[in-house]
Point group: D2
Chain length 188, copies 4
Amino acid sequence: MINLHGITAAFVVCGLTICSSAHAADLLIDRSITKNEVLEAQRAWCAALVDISKAYETGGQSAAKALAEKVIDSAYAYDKGGVLFKPTLTVNPQTVRTTRAGALAYFVGGDPEFPNDKGFALKGWTSCVAEDNAIIILGDTATSLGKVRITNMDGSIATVDKTWQYIKDPDDHLRIVVHHSSLEYSDQ
Amino acid sequence: MINLHGITAAFVVCGLTICSSAHAADLLIDRSITKNEVLEAQRAWCAALVDISKAYETGGQSAAKALAEKVIDSAYAYDKGGVLFKPTLTVNPQTVRTTRAGALAYFVGGDPEFPNDKGFALKGWTSCVAEDNAIIILGDTATSLGKVRITNMDGSIATVDKTWQYIKDPDDHLRIVVHHSSLEYSDQ
Amino acid sequence: MINLHGITAAFVVCGLTICSSAHAADLLIDRSITKNEVLEAQRAWCAALVDISKAYETGGQSAAKALAEKVIDSAYAYDKGGVLFKPTLTVNPQTVRTTRAGALAYFVGGDPEFPNDKGFALKGWTSCVAEDNAIIILGDTATSLGKVRITNMDGSIATVDKTWQYIKDPDDHLRIVVHHSSLEYSDQ
Amino acid sequence: MINLHGITAAFVVCGLTICSSAHAADLLIDRSITKNEVLEAQRAWCAALVDISKAYETGGQSAAKALAEKVIDSAYAYDKGGVLFKPTLTVNPQTVRTTRAGALAYFVGGDPEFPNDKGFALKGWTSCVAEDNAIIILGDTATSLGKVRITNMDGSIATVDKTWQYIKDPDDHLRIVVHHSSLEYSDQ
């Protein structure tokens, strides 16, 4: 007990030598998403799209489907309750795919529950690049909006406007919770 | 000072009567966004679109512009560093409008810096409804993805796919930080 | 394609009957923490403290330790990189327990790495109540500050000032990331 | 309109030269709190404590109070609905100070509503250092737990265990939402 200007308190008074022995707590846990993590997640999505196309060329629909399931489970957060996914080419009344089955059907087709899906990832994509990113990081969630350009085996380049919102899962891996993709508008 | 099984400590031992006098701290601050706040923000955006159309009919471009500025400042977070805004009908190279000027030009036109903008809010909209919402609330940010149907004075209904991400500002008012709007895809 | 006041666009025009078939997206994912979840986590922590005391009475140190390990793994987020834990009765240079081993030693003692720990949970606690809560919810993290009153088998009541900060884990279970507990100050 | 493997779509096909003109959206908004911002906020709090002590020495209670009001408004988030503040030396039933008036009384005293407060910041503090920080950053909120050592004009050093939780306000300035300070426990 010491008396500090009238306040009696159990302040521990210490010399610097003794107190330095207390330096035991230094720790930094940072759950914030960084710009580089967003860019890496975009690259991973693009690489996966091309990989599924290649799997289809070499192994057929079953190989493509097996890979697409892995990609969806790794890149999307369907296991957290669903995803707000509006793919580029879906139509009413199945525009939005909040379930894993709906995402899988969009990427590789073949699901009678989604009869309009022909398999977007099976179209022979050879490269995919995300560009012109606007990014907002709100701590443990981040959203990007920009262009994604995908090149077909015939050399044509298709561009879509794409919004992705991510969360960070317990393994520090980004997972998509919102995905809105749309063809560029043209007034021609 | 009391002795608790060998631990000498400055525990304050008290009877229930005395301790009840300590009930002074009850406080709840909840910054989470609710579903109802998201739906209300959607309604406010829709109402503002119709109001700007009406202002244009009755007061011309200057009245529409004055109202649009108010709407943008109230509904969007441009003052927080920019917004990820991909309007429905913009074209390259000005597809995304990260600045307030770009948003204003889109809604009411008349800005030589954005020569393709004819004023989306000036087209005679008479009603606007957000439907089929998928919503994800990540605490102090929330995102909705769904259909927005807007009715024109000629009775036609246009539908867009729309993603809005919101934050809550210090006055507990939702502000749009991401807005991706796109025409529905049609394979016809 | 329709022409809306000079804007040629692929708007899908639909009657209400047709559009109602698009109602497929309704989904709500809400990761926000509620006040009730905070109160329930407090009750669970208190119940666990009493349970460990009972396990010690009936099964000795090994039973208490086994239960404490379960409690720590369920209630704290040590597996997320560490916890900011300042227990009530720790001393320099081991005041703060950022590791699981440090928390376990505090609750049940018996770890030569933490020679001052006698086992806080082994002291015969028969009830534990959190009161006078001030709570702040920042979406997916929440913090409470208040009094926790714990009653000993000899009938004495000890009160501590306690701050707990929680996150919600992927299973929607609250986990403690910060825990600061201190004896009430007394100028006597 | 182009035909991509059976999908008729309004893809905009472009050569690289034309598409490069679309690079207009690059934007990064990052609201995450950094470790350095936490350390700077700690330094600012410490500097303010010493400054209030100096203001008291040179200008008396009214000067100290005027400065303390500025410090509280800048460093704490009382204007956001209240703060979870458990100061080092408060006693029941006014242990926790959820209101600005309660914080001001603690720092400079002189408020008959808080009769036990003698003015913690008026005690002749000449230096203040935060050490041994454990920090957790959850995006737009961060919490530190560590030692704060404050030196008195008589040369004695007092150490407290201190938890601070911060949010970032719209001006990118950290504001305290939780503050739990306690004397070090001693079993002597």
